[in-house]
Symmetry: D2
Subunit: 344 residues, 4 copies
């Protein structure tokens, strides 16, 4: 069997490490190069002792993120686990060199450069690539993902919000201007950055909202909701930091469209995901512990009869379905592998 | 100095224990009796080793919760830290015997017995006492608390929701039907009960909504919001369980009334609490760690200009301002002590 | 490919659930029956929502733990994830009926019934089976495990203590009477039991020793250490409960035998485990997070030159290498499968 | 009542913040200056929102740590909450200017400059002050503390280790060369430093030994043990980092001296601390949660009859009895206040 050869650019953050964990158990790929500016020359095992004795993978050495070296490597596809703005610098030459790119950063998620600029505060670094990028939510863009060379893998919050809402907006079942989202994220969502607010003592026995009311992820969330609704959607969204390593839980308040019952909303969601392996619409309220370390998204629906609102709940692992797992799911589609390969 | 003599009925749960901690450092009171059915005959120190060498308090023995014994004890005031339904059984004879009662349970919070029955699923156990009970939120009912003999100390979620909303509804600054609340609570909110869902392993690295959409606390929340607004208020409220011991954080979405700016809402809150020691309206988003182990409530306001909504944030310690601290604050008022005595 | 058919008796505790997770990704087995007294008639998915859409496995229904039903089932091998004393009741008739048994309880770990009685406080329930049981530590008893029909899978603490010590005692490198062990365990080690001391609030921000100085696991630890040393070994062992879900960390103090250097001890351990996939002797101090959710045991050695002692450190996941993972490793050996199959 | 005027140098770390919390409720002191290089010009409340509305204290502004400004301030006593090496730079001129100094760093704990150099890797910065410094363990040096102008407040691990061992060594009850200590510390022990290993995600669900076998605290531990034993004591000591904010737990293995029973050891400890408010020798094994946020040290004794060893257990809050609480206890002695004032 021919194995796909993989490069990982920026492999030392939490998403990069999770990508390593997933790919190390993927039977049809071979990681051939990893970059990490700070760990050049060290092996994966030296930096992450958890990869010792995990095949040959742990013996691979981190190299400088030199575009030249990457372009001339044997990799068929590159995962970019870099800060926004930075990823595009690599994507452009790699695409040009005929490589495929799966970008876990935010650089290619938003179609309009001016929206990127509004939310990220800087000019888009490679607007010419935007038309060919596909938003990497396989449950929505599966066919497009099979054909593209550039995947913009979604953010963690967006994944947890779009999966419950997109089918409902597509079917016109909810009032488009009624959407309010309260989300909670584990601390790995902040990345492996040496900053005081993310120290153990600052996060443990602590909980706080942040990035409100205009979090960057709103740009991609509203783009995709608007595409589903075929009209401009603006929502309220509040992220909160809670003391756990992994996981995102979103609670979403909506008003049903006139004449639509909560039961119909639940049925629509069940129907939409009946054949999706990684999305489970159930009767129990989602709990992060049921999805952590997996690529699943759990969803439930409740009817608040007293106010007429419907409340949607979702839970994912932010590093798996919200980042690296979903990116591998897209890669599996791209490569024609079984979509669930290596995903728990 | 004459000391107030205190009885604590049901002293072995988390609220009871916190009450013991607060009262053990109160210079103007003396705890004279404590009950705990399961620990009869043991000293406070034997059950809670943290009270060893904390004055004579630790040497006090738990007695049976016999109404006769309580009535004939020297206590001037009784704190009831019992399950709902149970508290009323003690409140009635104690009040009749001329004792004062501060009930931490839900039994006397709701004025209308039929609302109690709707939300708690059983007939109100002592409706004749409802007219004389005062809802123990000192920032709202300070004068009434000074005079009453029966305090219904508020629930934890209600405290975190009412403090930000009541002044705004009183002043007509927000749309009464626009209120949506997402709250997160530490696990001590579930009480010291031997139940699987509250085991460490079930809560750590876990987060889930529960008790939605009709949580019992809605009965008192809506009663007090309606009183403030002078009209019937119905809200959406979703509690979530998050992995910390103590603390409640509420995120509250509202629409300003026509012509009201977010700035005016923030000013109104600042003015309402300018002279309140325990309520702090600040510019930083509240963080549970800033209020844990204290009687403070932190509040902040944000304007979501894109949707026109205003978002209110609050944080308290569920066992202190959300239960035992607030109950002692009420007692201080009742007794004519400095309101902040023994409260950190 | 013929699949091994599996029965799991007592599948609703933490070890049982972990066993389900591991076996659900094992390509060469098929779980054909699961018992759980409390969940009879429910599917695995109903009890553990994390198993929804995980193959057909989640649709399997829990049955009564009736020996008759188990004996007449198609299962080739049974895992017993039951309390000690209980497991033997099932093991005896199953073995008699020609089934293979892998017992995760303590019932068949100790060879001498009188030692069992000393440590477990009751007569051994099936002493006639003791001679044929093999202690399920594959790194030590691999060949025996390939041939036995009854595996006594080791306890979690013992695994973390025996792996570093056995090779040293076999080689006579340490003083047999010098061994002192301080271990720390995550709370899942206490099982899924509704008991106050294991509530989130009682364990979070808490740490305590327990079960000291004569913990039950000493019976199997000292048996195996004595077998390795070919002389009677008695050790000091103190377990501590720390606030994490999974993981055991052991710190082991020993005196080198006369003339033995710390370097030689480290080399001996490296040599002993050079070809073992799941044991990693490294230079970094072990950290539980590097082994959690895996079947690895990490070990390191330090020389305390000031006192002449050598300190050994080990870390495992108590539910995987310390219980269900190791049990599956034994099953893989028994069945002639690749030893690492389904183990992360 | 004349209030003591206090200066705090380095008030923005965890010990500094805890000092602020304790002193803010001390009725006989007034904090008159605080320094923090990084927060100059900001008020305490701005940096630590938890101090808003806590008296005038929160309105105090951080100043530059200029020796001139400190010397000319009105403060009677200075707390130094600085890194080792740095504290001595301030202590020398302050002492010279007639101020009293309570140093929470390690600079004046060790009597011999060469021991300091051995363990801290640099020349002692102010050896001339060593003769006048008193080791701030009030239970051992109470009388000396009342008279000194320079207190070297003990480290957190040393406090938890010395309190159980000193009375036993003084009385000759244990073998001096038999001492082995395994300690566990919460993450606040690492300080408020922006470093990757202390991020939430790196510590949560993680546990590891570190700083072994020659941790810096051994210098003061062995000095004080040797003073108690009147002979040179060398011990084995292993610290571990566990996922909680606050607390240290030490498990100490010793051999009783010939003819000494475990019972006599326990009695000796009970007698030694019978009149000490903050040391509790009990029958229950210590649990960090019983001492957190307090100045207590809990101790228990167990006899390991199988090996003849005695095991001592202790628990403290590393930021209170292990740092700032103990420093205030020393200040209370110095100033002639009630020793327990402001300490919970």
């Amino acid at each position: 069997m021919h194995k796909w050869k993989i490069g990982i650019v920026g492999a030392s953050g939490y998403s990069g490490e999770e990508l390593c964990a997933i790919l190390s158990r993927h039977p049809q790929v071979e990681v051939v190069c990893l970059t990490s500016r700070q760990h050049v020359g060290k092996t994966v095992s030296q930096v992450f002792p958890r990869f010792v004795k995990r095949g040959n993978f742990g013996e691979l050495k981190f190299i400088e993120p030199s575009i030249e070296a990457l372009v001339s490597s044997k990799a068929d596809v590159f995962f970019l686990a870099l800060p926004h703005g930075k990823a595009a610098e690599f994507a452009a030459p790699l695409i040009e060199a005929g490589k495929r790119v799966i970008d876990i950063s935010a650089d290619f998620r938003v179609h309009k450069p001016e929206v990127y600029e509004e939310f990220y505060g800087e000019k888009h670094p490679a607007p010419q690539l935007l038309p060919q990028s596909v938003y990497g939510l396989p449950e929505i863009y599966r066919e497009e993902l099979k054909k593209t060379k550039l995947v913009a893998s979604p953010g963690c919050y967006p994944t947890s919000i779009l999966l419950p809402l997109v089918p409902l907006l597509k079917a016109g079942l909810i009032e488009p201007d009624s959407i309010i989202v309260s989300s909670m994220s584990g601390v790995s969502g902040a990345g492996r950055k040496a900053e005081i607010p993310f120290l153990f003592v600052e996060c443990n026995e602590s909980t706080r909202a942040y990035g409100t009311p205009k979090h960057r992820h709103l740009s991609e969330i509203e783009q995709e909701l608007s595409a589903a609704a075929k009209q401009q959607i603006i929502i309220s969204f509040t992220p909160h930091l809670i003391p756990l390593n992994r996981g995102i839980h979103s609670t979403i308040y909506v008003r049903p469209a006139a004449g639509v019952s909560a039961g119909r909303i639940e049925e629509a969601l069940k129907a939409a995901y009946a054949n999706e392996h990684f999305v489970r619409v159930g009767s129990e309220l989602p709990d992060i512990k049921n999805v952590s370390n997996t690529n699943y998204c759990d969803i439930a629906v409740r009817h608040d009869v007293r106010t007429g609102r419907v409340i949607l709940f979702s839970a994912i692992d932010n590093l798996v379905k919200g980042a690296s797992g979903q990116a591998v799911q897209s890669m599996n589609l791209m490569a024609g592998f079984e979509e669930t390969t290596a995903l728990l």
